[in-house]
């Protein structure tokens, strides 16, 4: 059986900037695979190249066994994409959007109606199918686009930041829908995200991307285990770090201002000693590592949600106001 995705030295350069750096990645069928990293790490660039929207500077990839450079149409027919930004037509109804997609992606005529009804039922939009998309909420629109991505029976579904800009409750719903789709359709899902909780919740495997390279790749639990202990978060007035760093059960120390993050083996057994040594403690919190700690561990930085490229809503607002 062919791999869902197999990249071979995939590289994208924008002038001086190396957006994706000789990526070698293999994704097998049937899993939810996450590309996790801050904005600008190269996730969307990777996705765009795999979806044949962007030509690599060098290297190539096979998607469902088709070469992305030589056979773009075959690749496109075998994948579904849900973009970061809304890409359904808000003047048309949900059903009309799906009908157009079926026409453009060559869904045979006798299957169209039945298939459209089926994907609508997967995302619980049957009752609203004949409403104009303008009347949909953000979450409904995302669901419609999820359904549309599946309409032509793709073997891989690409989701680019599937819950960006949605409220927590809607995000939870979208996650459930994604999990249901995977169960119902047995499709491979590749998502990009900069949300730790999303990667943790959904993905079977996660590749942590930073500066266009994979810095770690494993199951979320295994990645967290690699951090090697628990996290103690402390707020300390004038902390004494030197004696702490020398303790052999303290794996790492990160300081930002008065906040300290210690990675500690068997934290509960050693908490007393740390608190006694470090100085005047204002607050303390012990927790298991999250993917955020994993990211910090590999890159020395935290994933921040804000970044230079601007949120999706600012971009939409800009486009809308021009209209």
């Amino acid at each position: 059986m062919v791999s869902a995705v197999e990249t071979d030295g995939l590289t994208k350069r924008y002038g001086e900037l190396l957006a994706v750096d000789r990526l070698d990645l293999k994704i097998e069928g049937g899993e939810i695979f996450g590309l996790l990293g801050p904005n600008g790490a190269g996730k969307t660039t990777i996705l765009s190249m795999l979806a044949t929207l962007l030509k690599p500077t060098s290297g190539t990839a096979r998607v469902n066994g088709h070469d992305i450079i030589e056979q773009p149409h075959e690749v496109r027919r075998s994948i579904g994409i849900v973009f970061q930004d809304p890409s359904s037509d808000d003047v048309l109804t949900g059903r009309e959007n799906l009908y157009l997609h079926a026409l453009m992606f060559g869904v045979p005529k006798h299957e169209r109606k039945q298939k459209i009804d089926y994907v609508l039922s997967l995302v619980d939009l049957q009752d609203r199918a004949n409403d104009i998309v303008k009347k949909y909420s953000g979450g409904m629109r995302r669901r419609l686009e999820l359904a549309r991505g599946l309409l032509h029976n793709p073997r891989i579904l690409f989701l680019d930041e599937p819950t960006l800009g949605l409220d927590p409750q809607t995000r939870e719903h979208i996650w459930q829908y994604i999990e249901n789709l995977v169960k119902a359709e047995k499709v491979t899902v590749i998502i990009t995200t900069h949300y730790m909780d999303e990667a943790d919740r959904l993905c079977d495997r996660v590749a942590i991307i930073d500066h266009g390279k994979i810095v770690a790749l494993d199951k979320p639990a295994a990645l967290k285990a690699k951090v090697g202990g628990e996290i103690i978060k402390l707020r300390v007035r004038s902390p004494r770090l030197e004696p702490i760093k020398d303790l052999d059960y303290v794996l790492s120390v990160d300081q930002s201002g008065s906040t300290l993050l210690l990675t500690v083996k068997d934290a509960s057994a050693h908490l007393q000693e740390i608190l006694g040594t470090i100085g005047q403690v204002e607050s303390v919190e012990v927790r298991s590592p999250t993917l955020n700690d994993v990211f910090l561990n590999y890159t020395g930085r935290e994933i921040r949600e804000e970044s230079g490229e601007g949120g999706v809503f600012e971009r939409i607002a800009r486009v809308r106001s021009g209209r």
């Binding site: 149409h73 496109r76 048309l92």
Partner: protein
């Protein structure tokens, strides 16, 4: 077969948008109506040209103007389309760019043609009489003009990143194409500086052809007007297809 269905999908979408966004149709008819009623009616109360009332004289020109504005704007819309909504979905479809361009171009041309048809109905009210032949040929003229100008709009739009340049295009391209075309004046006795621009303005040949068909008087033979216009359309469609192939 797949390409044909894709073409149909693109056209179907344009028709749905056209019939639902009624404000767009109404607003695109207001400007030509103002020209015809206020400018044509006002000046027409004092002026006759070529043996007809001025209002009747400019009618073919205003008809071409309706096509000009709605076609170029339709094409320019792609600047927004590129960033948002449906067009991104179109670009990832397994369709050739020629099909996508053709679907957009024909969809936009039919939009413009429907607005032209509304103007022709108004012509009856003004007292212009058609027969089947002139009506059919007028539609052919309007369609060729529209396909050329939608393509022009799509070429500009597909090479633009933002909407900031719109006002420039309207001031330096769309309005001059209207004013130099002879829509508002006869072109048989122009000073040479004006004549130069009139000759290179493709809309001139649509106006002259339509004037020949609807009012029975034109400077050039109708067939020559059509040949020049069709040549311009072919060039625009060629460049437009090429622009779409480069589109990301």
């Amino acid at each position: 077969m797949g390409e044909l269905e894709g073409f149909y999908a693109l056209w179907y979408r344009e028709m749905k948008v056209f019939t639902r966004e009624k404000s767009r149709i109404v607003s695109s008819l207001v400007t030509p109506l103002l020209w015809l009623v206020v400018f044509g009616g006002g000046l027409g109360s004092a002026v006759s040209l070529g043996g007809v009332n001025y209002q009747i004289f400019i009618f073919p020109g205003i008809l071409a103007m309706t096509i000009l504005f709605s076609s170029v704007f339709f094409g320019l819309y792609i600047v927004w389309d590129k960033k948002i909504d449906f067009f991104k979905e179109v670009l990832v479809a397994p369709l050739s760019r020629v099909t996508i361009f053709a679907g957009k171009m024909v969809g936009g041309s039919i939009d413009a043609l429907l607005q032209g048809a509304a103007m022709l109905v108004l012509g009856v009210v003004l007292g212009i009489r058609y027969n089947l032949l002139t009506l059919v040929l007028s539609f052919v003229f309007m369609f060729v003009l529209a396909s050329a100008l939608v393509s022009l709009g799509l070429i500009i739009g597909s090479n633009m990143e933002s909407v900031e340049g719109f006002q420039l295009i309207i001031s330096f391209l769309v309005f001059p194409m209207f004013f130099f075309s002879g829509a508002l004046f006869p072109i048989d006795n122009l000073p040479s500086y004006l004549l130069l621009f009139t000759v290179i303005d493709p809309v001139t040949y649509a106006v002259d052809g339509l004037r020949g068909l609807l009012l029975g008087s034109s400077q050039l033979p109708i067939a020559l007007n059509m040949a020049i216009l069709a040549g311009f359309a072919a060039v625009m469609i060629g460049i437009g297809t090429w622009s779409f192939k480069r589109l990301k």
